[in-house]
Symmetry: C2
Subunit: 650 residues, 2 copies
């Protein structure tokens, strides 16, 4: 058994183990399989790296060298909110930035015993249940979280997040930071990319989010009912549009290839997904056999007109209209619903530049980024541009394993290099000039080592027209030796970089539970929260202690309780063995932050009620005896004494 050696406390140089790790881990299997998949070194080095060369790198500690200070003194608030997806913890996390402190976790797809998410009747209704009342699913894999827009920037109303495992989309209210709706997307598996639109493609008055797009990765027999399973070349994937307000699926598009990420244009006309596996392979070797995949664009207005005109199919039990967006069916630009812009194979990530002009696809297996001119894509749909390849205004080398791109609002892009474990800062206009032929242009502005294997990246307000170029966060998939060892499962490493100047400066790193994928960072003034509920919003609220009561109908018993520190309104209540008991609990305390809990031993019940909130639980009283329900959420000097005695009579 390997025992990890203790390490000195002083600054630990991240190498040479760092480069060794790249070889042994990130490339493991690839090399083993004898594959060369475009992983040749970057041929054109545009600018010297900011860190020392690989042989003797030094830690990129910048905090002391004029960088902005990420730390907060006690009582000092953060300047930005961060919304971080939780990956296979199934939640969304709220960070304060630049401190990196986690100020909230929002249970979404998975149960949360603290809040009572998946335990209370109200949350089970949102999450979805089987016929027997138990939860439909208790696992999920959230990847991408994006927020609603108005006038090209965040309006602080909603955020959406996907569940890749079970193909669901959830909405989070940004006034209470709670999930309020979850929708199942039919006909798909591996729902990955998600992005809200920024305005309506037709109605100029709708300059805010009304649709959320979803890209499915895995292609399937359609319908997936146990037939047509053998011929994988006939499997297909779908791109989906969900109504942002109603949270219902509006339409789907049948496509070739597997969707990865999603981006939307500032004019509302285009949505796109970068694609891999346009080969329609079932094994990874096949999925990367072709030299080109695509960035697939959707003409939203045309798709909706086609649906309106009844030009759609449905699959299986689903009633969702599905239009045909395959390559074969969309050859004529004048009627095409989709446009497949060729990009180097297996790209990973598509991001909209804050000036509204470009989508940028990162190469992953190609060391390049591809800059796509949206005006040219619209021009192709309009017949003004002949060849979709004309939309490609740059395809430049950045380094090994480019994955995702963020922006500073000053014309620069920041792309993660997974295999190089770097972030590269590059100028988009310069890259376009270079690609046009001016080989003297230096488009790479700066490089910085990160630790290690970065995936998603985002900058403050980067996904809006208000990109402010202050802070860059980098989600590093491996932390290796950057934190105290905690056994085989490592935290991941969210690193924070000051991008306010010419050079990037690494200022802090924060361990996180695996595994955040995507995240957004927005100014605190975008958010207006409700810190105390309105008791009138809950139809079953117990608005006064005097309303506490027990109602019985046959063997169905409802116990109406209220909490008011340090007591529940009934110190005891009696039910009979075999009863179906519903407990309705209103927290009558009005003071902000004065939350109460309610747990019943042996009955698997625990939830909280925030000030002026009402929740309910239902269970069968199947065990006779005394059960002390108690407050689990420290509330008062007499918190320990805050109990109610459930007496279950034989």
């Amino acid at each position: 058994m390997s025992i990890r050696e203790d390490k000195p406390t002083a600054d630990v140089p991240p190498s040479p183990g760092r480069r060794k790790f790249l070889n042994s881990a990130a490339l493991a299997g690839l090399a083993g399989a004898g594959l060369s998949v475009g992983l040749s070194a970057c041929k054109q080095e545009q600018a010297p790296a900011t860190t020392a060369p690989a042989e003797a790198p030094k830690p990129a500690v910048a905090a002391a060298h004029g960088a902005m200070d990420p730390h907060r003194t006690p009582g000092q608030l953060d300047d930005y909110y961060g919304l971080w997806s939780g990956g296979h913890t199934g939640d969304v996390r709220v960070l304060g930035l630049p401190s990196g402190r986690e100020i909230h976790r929002i249970p979404v797809f998975n149960p949360d015993p603290l809040v009572g998410w998946g335990i209370t009747n109200e949350s089970k209704k949102i999450m979805g249940t089987k016929a027997d009342g138990s939860l439909q699913y208790t696992v999920a894999d959230t990847h991408h979280v994006h927020a609603s827009y108005k006038d090209g920037t965040y309006d602080g109303k909603y955020a959406w997040v996907n569940d890749k495992i079970n193909g669901r989309m959830a909405r989070i209210r940004l006034d209470t930071f709670e999930c309020d709706k979850i929708v199942d997307i039919p006909n798909i598996q591996g729902f990955h990319g998600i992005f809200p639109d920024k305005r309506d493609p037709v109605d100029a008055n709708i300059n805010y989010t009304t649709r959320v797009f979803a890209g499915a990765e895995f292609s399937l027999p359609l319908p997936n009912d146990g037939t047509g399973m053998e011929d994988t070349a006939k499997y297909r994937s779908l791109f989906t549009c969900v109504d942002a307000e109603k949270m219902e699926v509006r339409w789907q598009v049948l496509i070739d290839g597997n969707c990865d990420l999603v981006a939307t244009s500032y004019d509302g006309r285009l949505a796109a997904t970068n694609q891999y596996n346009t080969e329609m392979g079932a094994k990874y070797e096949d999925m990367m056999s072709a030299e080109k995949d695509a960035c697939l664009f959707f003409n939203v207005a045309r798709i909706e007109a086609a649906v309106k005109a009844g030009k759609f199919k449905t699959y299986g039990d689903s009633k969702v209209p599905v239009v045909d967006g395959t390559r074969e069916a969309n050859k004529d630009p004048k009627t095409a619903l989709t446009a497949y812009v060729p990009v180097p194979k297996n790209p990973h990530g598509v991001n909209a530049s804050p000036d509204g002009k470009y989508f940028i696809c990162a190469g992953k297996l190609s060391p390049t980024a591809t800059v796509i001119d949206l005006a040219a894509v619209n021009g192709w749909f309009e017949g003004a541009v002949k060849d979709l390849k004309e939309a490609i205004v740059a395809e430049v080398e950045l380094g090994l394993g480019p994955l995702h791109t963020a922006f500073d609002g000053r014309g620069n892009a920041y792309t993660t290099l997974f295999l190089d474990s770097q972030v590269v800062k590059w100028n988009v206009d310069a890259a376009i000039k270079f690609y046009k032929g001016d080989k003297n242009v230096k488009y790479v502005v700066d490089r910085i080592d990160v630790h290690y294997q970065p995936g998603h990246i985002n900058a403050s307000m980067s996904e809006t027209k208000e990109a402010d170029g202050k802070w860059l966060a980098v989600g590093c998939k491996f932390s290796k030796d950057r934190f105290l060892p905690v056994g085989p499962l490592h935290p991941e490493n969210e690193q924070l970089i000051d991008i306010s100047g010419e050079k990037m400066k690494l200022v802090a790193e924060h361990p996180v539970r695996p595994e955040p994928h995507d995240f957004i960072i927005f100014k605190r003034d975008k958010i207006k929260t409700r810190q105390v509920y309105d008791i009138n919003e809950f139809p079953n609220a117990v608005k006064d202690i005097k309303e506490s009561r027990i109602e019985r109908k046959g063997n169905k018993v409802t116990v109406y309780l209220a909490s008011f520190a340090p007591a529940y309104s009934m110190r005891e209540f009696k039910v009979k063995k075999g009863d179906e008991v519903t407990i309705v609990l209103t927290n009558l305390d009005k003071v902000e932050d004065l939350t109460h809990g309610f747990a019943i031993p042996k009955y698997n019940i625990n939830f909280i009620v925030n000030p002026q909130e009402t929740k309910s639980v239902t269970f069968k009283a199947d065990k006779p005896g005394v059960y002390w329900a108690y407050c689990t959420h420290f509330c008062h000097a007499l918190h320990l004494e805050m109990r109610s005695r459930m007496i279950v009579e034989k």
Copy 2:
């Protein structure tokens, strides 16, 4: 609906809202009930407060004034581990200190969809299942986490944590930071305090932890089978001893009153619990009607002799021997198993001083701390001390709502004042002198405001003979306005104080998901982790890709799979609708930190395998069709392409 006003970014003075909050929230209900429960102001102010008076307090920002720097530069490791209980999230969290960064969360009593805790067969066996194979419980409430000892300090082997809701105790291995055993404690509800012993009471060679003690809060009819429910005065509570290695219950003691916290002596002879509700009341007014409760001591050697001699009962289905530790049955010191040392009513917290001499009970409803001389308690059991009151060597006023106490190894104690929202530093020897009559002695050394309503407190190595007096962490139950608003549910606030000097200095605050209760802080060199598993420890391991196979016995199918980035060893596998499928997955990657995940859409399956680890899941293949199992844990440039196709034939 109340909309929270935005706050300026600059340092926010925590008052006058701070004091107002104390009145309106912490005392809510108490005042309303017209009760005066010993909450009179502290009569003797021993030293001036370090902060300004209540009328115009200033923030206690100290980081810039010569305090130790809690921040880490990128790559710089922390000096200490912190083990934090998670409260009703049911987990244990691992922090790095002084940075306060969460480096791990250990799933314990509740399912964790990231790890697959509660999903894999291996974890379900530890957690406990019902007859139908589903989990016995999915909620829990962890309060106190304490670690194993050798020679009076931590040996880095185990930690234990309680579940208050369902009366369970869990063990965590500190080499892998994983839960490996959970034991149900019979005959109890509301298991609250927990503490391992520090050496054997009889065998001097056993100078390490072999027992873990558990105090139950709620008293019950015994057995709790639906009989004897009316006469609450006859309800009783139990104190429990668990075998540290076997994780089986060794014995229980029937007692008067409700157990709160637990402490153990360095000589191994004594365990104790501070008690409230020696009145045996069922409502909080009754629970605090008497002027005195007790710190209840257990003579471990005598209890074990009594068990050996067969002087015990059992209750209901439980076979655990229960000895009689009630006051009535233990009047003769020479034979007594227990000793009830009187302390002011409803104390909260009992802590062992690192010099081995004292247990300190904090008053909660009394503004005092009581210092109990362990030599005198042992003396009472031996007949050398007549009256247990002689064991009380100090009972001094500290402030309003004293709850818990930590130590610096230099003779000073640090006690949280819940109602005053302060930490008070006081000298134990000075307090003893003052109590003896020397009223000129100033035992209060310093006070500092914290934010807000502090509960547990602990200092680096404070619970060992190696208390080093560097850092003090304070678990504040309310954070109110200290972090960006995130809706009605607030984070709690773990504040960090530099105690290396005479004056305490508040240097950082960290928001945490509710709600950590207790925690311990220990030097990093106490821990030697295993960062990669030994494949040979898993009897069902698939040790080579060639061992991948499908075995069928009737409708029971076992799929033996291996992962090796970026692929699973079988790209597809077929089962039939109705099969009971078990998937065994070994991660053959050996590189530290190279974890893979395994999720199956619509089948509610997700778990991870760390390097060289094997896990299994079992489910019914009840839906025909194609299901793409995929890797959920970013592992490789071709991570997205890492899949296996489960084909469920009709």
